[in-house]
């Protein structure tokens, strides 16, 4: 038998390995990586030649856009930065280029209007027990496979029933409903930016707070403008992985992180939600990484909500998140140093309550939307006088 030289041995080994490594990727059994399946990016696309022939009553010229050559416009509201030729419709479905001018078709035509407990947003550190007047038009700049509001987020404005509620009427309706705030919510409020901003300005004049419940996919300039009239926000950090953002949500991670930084710099009260999707967003290492980023960039005081996933919309072949996974993540986040970590979609759990980060005593007990125990005095812990971050009811 011919003796094998070292060089030949290395060549053969490398050759065999190069065959074996990719082959392993095709071995379908054993540990399955959810991230590895299906398309890697589900981001939306501009709808070519989809704009209506004429504008309808509920239209308004866009606030942040640039005109470029050939009658095209670049929408500047969100990081999608849709380039629209005349007659095109944006990724979010709400904005169109009509003869070289960008218009929003979602202005004064909400399709969903409700008065909700503020805890439902969820906002746990913003005027507990108060009611918030919630409005939404159609549209979203993401394509989340698990969207619970897909009936309004993934349709065009003319495709659904709506009511007429221009900013002035919206503020009046909020006051009539006894709301202390107006929440721009359900779908993606960034896509009805003009309607939201005009309503928010009027609301502030009337002493109502403005709440932005969003995926955080917005450019800095419009966000800074919004923050001038914004009182609180809940921004969804869908995962701490750009790959998962692209695969499950059709967005990117970095712009969302930028939004958190801007909100923090401008001292807007905000809370962070993270939906724990089994097989995707349930990696403890990713949670640790996310918490470290939050601590490094935003500090420990912004409440973090881990939400339990339930099968919804197109992501309906996954089981719900086990409660123990959420509990583990809460422990991880608190061990990392985040002061207020909550569990969502888990009724009657101690993870729904607020405990003072200083003395550890129960400050707010939440039984669903009931608050049987409230141990804050103004913004301070009734037991140790520590200031609790948030926007609280005036001292009683």
């Amino acid at each position: 038998m011919q003796k094998l030289s070292r060089r030949k041995f290395l060549y053969c080994s490398a050759g065999l390995l190069s065959v074996a490594c990719p082959a392993q990727a095709f071995w379908p059994f054993g540990e399955k990586e959810s991230h590895a399946s299906g398309p890697v990016d589900i981001r939306g696309r501009v709808f070519k030649n989809d704009a209506p022939q004429t504008l309808w009553k509920w239209s308004r010229e866009g606030f942040h856009y640039k005109k470029i050559e050939g009658g095209k416009v670049v929408c500047g509201i969100c990081p999608n930065r849709c380039i629209l030729a005349p007659g095109d419709r944006s990724v979010c479905r709400s904005r169109v280029n009509m003869n070289g001018t960008l218009y929003s078709l979602a202005y004064g035509n909400p399709c969903s209007v409700n008065t909700d407990p503020i805890e439902k947003k969820p906002l746990y550190h913003f005027k507990p027990k108060s009611k918030t007047f919630s409005v939404a038009t159609t549209g979203c700049n993401f394509r989340c496979l698990n969207c619970q509001n897909w009936e309004i987020s993934q349709v065009k404005p003319h495709e659904i029933r709506h009511i007429e509620l221009f900013p002035k009427n919206a503020v009046q309706a909020a006051q009539d409903a006894g709301g202390k705030s107006i929440a721009y919510t359900y779908s993606e409020p960034t896509t009805f930016f003009e309607y939201m901003l005009d309503t928010a300005r009027l609301a502030r004049e009337k002493g109502l707070a403005n709440l932005w419940i969003s995926n955080g996919y917005i450019n800095k300039k419009p966000l800074v403008e919004l923050c001038k009239v914004l009182d609180g926000a809940n921004v969804n950090l869908k995962s701490f992985s750009d790959a998962i953002y692209r695969k499950l949500n059709g967005g990117r991670l970095q712009p969302v992180l930028n939004t958190f930084k801007t909100l923090h710099e401008l001292k807007i009260h905000f809370e962070i939600t993270n939906l724990v999707v089994p097989g995707y967003v349930d990696d403890p290492e990713m949670v640790k990484e996310m918490c470290r980023w939050i601590l490094d960039n935003l500090g420990p005081d912004h409440p973090l909500h881990f939400l339990r996933f339930f099968p919804r919309y197109k992501l309906d072949r996954l089981p719900p998140t086990p409660v123990s996974a959420l509990e583990r993540f809460r422990e991880i986040a608190m061990a990392e140093g985040i002061h207020y970590v909550y569990l969502g979609n888990v009724p009657n759990h101690k993870g729904n309550h607020t405990y003072c980060h200083q003395c550890g005593k129960l400050l707010i007990e939440r039984q669903g939307y009931y608050i049987p125990t409230y141990n804050l005095d103004g913004n301070r812990c009734r037991f140790c006088n520590t200031i609790i971050p948030g926007v609280w009811q005036s001292k009683t």
Binding site: P28, F29, D316, L318, P320, N348
Partner: protein
């Protein structure tokens, strides 16, 4: 190749899904169509190839070997295989075992046929058997979840039942779809407390299917009896085994179709709680129709309550969903004076002859019943304005849902297509166009076989559906229908072969008989219904398939019986069968109802008869045309 592909295609269907589609997501119409086509096509193309090719081989030795005989043998195999699977294998083994056992005769036959080349053949047979065995060994591997572990798996005659464990959570899956887990307290509380809180006393409860935590909630009312009806014994076994539901005092577990049970029972209940998935199938739709609501009303005490839920919404009621609940509401209106719709992730229908109380937490407080979800979240999630919004959304003009015109299924289709922002119109337009092009190139005899194939499969679907409506979902008898529809083909083909010399006249006669048989089905359904014995429906199926089987050799003889003719007549029969099953189940019944589906099939056969008559008129005196 056939043996290998039968295993490989099942492996491909299970494994490739997570490679081509995003794990955990459902898939729209066109991707499903493409995926199904490409995973199944190799096997089906080979099966389609083998049948005529076998005839060509046989004709190498025996040039006048009759084409009809191979059709008869094929039908014999179909019937035997169908019966073996429906009555034996499905009860005993898993899919890969079934494939292994069903393919053993093929391996054996191949070895016999090519015994002269023993070494190569035995090697090939050995490899094929190894692959079959490999499928069996990989059965559980292909079902393992990406998260957690597969701790229970069994194949029942109604589908695959699996339980996944992830940490402390057990999730029950049926046919790969998660049904519920042991930690979903919300659904259990809503489904039980919304109806039962309405009652001043709860003695007898009928629960049609159950999910995690329900018995614990029912127990809070201390009923005397709880009749829990579950069609699939495997499901209830698993529910108890993994503690998803508890055994409580007074519980009777009944393994029967819920509607069939109610039809046979004379018990009166205080509450009937239906806990079934969305009516996406005819079987489930039977629990949301006028006849069922009438049946339920007759089994309710005067103060009793009927409740069920359909998929809800968070903040906007989309149009197909609005139509669905309107159809249900309008159907219920004939039987219940008071109907309250409660919104949420599921929309609950609470139906009574007495007024329905909206303030559920207040009723629970009166009864001193504590809850984790309803008491804490009801007032925030089910505000007065949300309840009013829902109840005012009902459209009184929406047609009712009935057994023979399942409007809900049609709306479920619409909703499904809306979810994926797609439409089936393109597909059906393309299919119709292909059919029209096909009609241009086929002979009249082939068109007759095409229409007969479509009629047989269409009528089989109709009979299965009618049977379910009248007799409940009884697997054994459904299997019997399928077998009977195959069994008639063989004697029919045998007789047709004997009388094939009579040519086109027989085609006309059998076409006429098929029309008469289908026409007779209308009064049978309308007036006979469940008063007629099961054998009537089985006899109908046998008759239709007998005539279909009869036509094949006759048409083949008319075409000359050559190799090309055999291939084309086989194709016409199979293409017709495929088109018939698709159009009847997806278009005719959901959109037009059963009676119009029957009318559609009759119309197709009348066209076939006209085609035959035109040809007949050319070759025999006109006076005989009066057929």
């Amino acid at each position: 190749m056939l043996v290998v592909l039968s295993t490989v295609q099942i492996l491909a269907i299970r494994v490739l899904r997570d490679i081509f589609f995003i794990h955990g997501s459902s898939v729209g119409f066109y991707p499903t169509l493409a995926y199904t086509f490409f995973t199944i096509a190799p096997y089906t193309l080979l099966v389609g190839f083998v049948l005529p090719y076998s005839l060509f081989i046989l004709r190498n030795d025996t040039p006048d070997y009759p084409g009809a005989r191979i059709y008869i043998m094929d039908n014999l195999g179909d019937t035997g295989g169908g019966a073996l699977f429906s009555f034996v294998l499905v009860y005993l083994v898993t899919p890969f075992w079934a494939i292994l056992l069903a393919n053993l005769p093929l391996i054996f036959a191949t070895c016999l046929l090519f015994s002269r080349r023993s070494a190569v053949v035995f090697l090939a047979a050995g490899i094929a058997f190894s692959i079959l065995l490999g499928g069996v060994l990989l059965e559980r591997e292909t079902l393992k979840p990406s998260v957690g572990e597969l701790i229970y798996y069994s194949e029942s005659r109604y589908g695959r039942v699996a339980v996944h464990r992830d940490a402390e959570q057990y999730t029950l899956l049926s046919d790969g779809v998660p049904l519920f887990s042991n930690q979903n307290v919300n659904m259990a509380e809503e489904a039980i407390h919304y109806p039962l809180s309405q009652l001043s006393r709860v003695q007898h409860i009928l629960l049609i299917s159950a999910e995690g935590g329900m018995m614990a909630e029912i127990e809070k009312y201390q009923p005397e009896t709880v009749d829990y009806v579950e069609l699939d014994p495997q499901i209830s076994t698993v529910l108890f085994k993994f503690g998803l539901i508890n055994k409580i005092s007074g519980l009777n577990v009944i393994h029967q179709d819920g509607r069939a049970f109610l039809t046979e029972s004379d018990k009166i209940y205080d509450a009937i709680i239906i806990n079934l998935p969305e009516p996406t199938t005819f079987q489930i739709n039977r629990f949301f129709t006028d006849r069922f609501f009438s049946l339920a009303k007759n089994h309710l005490a005067p103060h009793g309550v009927l409740s069920f839920s359909i998929q809800g919404f968070d903040n906007y009621l989309a149009e197909p969903q609005r139509q669905k609940l309107s159809s249900l509401y309008n159907t219920l209106m004939d039987y219940f004076e008071h109907i309250l719709l409660l919104p949420g992730h599921n929309i609950f229908f609470i139906c009574r002859s007495l007024p329905v109380e909206m303030d559920i937490p207040a009723r629970l407080a009166q009864k001193k019943i504590s809850t984790r979800y309803v008491g804490a979240f009801f007032y925030g999630n089910l505000t007065q304005e949300r309840i009013e919004y829902l109840n005012e959304a009902v459209d009184p003009t929406t047609p009712k849902n009935s057994d023979d015109s399942p409007r809900l299924i049609r709306l479920m289709f619409s909703q499904w297509f809306a979810k994926f922002a797609t439409s089936p119109v393109g597909f059906f337009a393309a299919l119709s166009l292909l059919c029209l092009i096909y009609f241009v190139f086929i002979t009249k005899e082939e068109f007759v076989l095409f229409s007969t194939g479509a009629m047989v499969m269409g009528s089989e679907i109709i009979i299965i559906f009618v049977f379910e409506i009248f007799f409940g979902y009884i697997y054994f008898q459904i299997g019997m229908i399928v077998t009977v529809f195959l069994a008639g083909l063989m004697p029919g083909a045998f007789l047709g072969d004997r009388f094939s010399g009579h040519g086109i006249r027989l085609i006309g006669i059998t076409d006429s008989l098929l029309i008469v048989l289908m026409g007779a089905l209308v009064p049978v359904i309308w007036y006979g219904g469940d008063r007629l014995p099961v054998t009537v429906y089985l006899a109908f199926g046998f008759g239709v398939s007998l005539l279909c089987g009869f036509q094949f050799p006759v048409a083949l003889a008319l075409r000359g019986g050559g190799n090309s003719a055999v291939t084309r007549t086989f194709s016409a029969d199979l293409i017709g069968a495929a088109v018939g099953i698709l159009f009847t189940s997806v278009v005719l019944i959901p959109w037009f109802g059963i009676i119009w589906a029957v009318a559609g099939l009759i119309a197709l056969k009348i066209i076939s008869l006209l085609v035959v008559s035109i040809r007949y008129a050319k070759i025999i005196p006109k006076k005989i045309l009066i057929l």
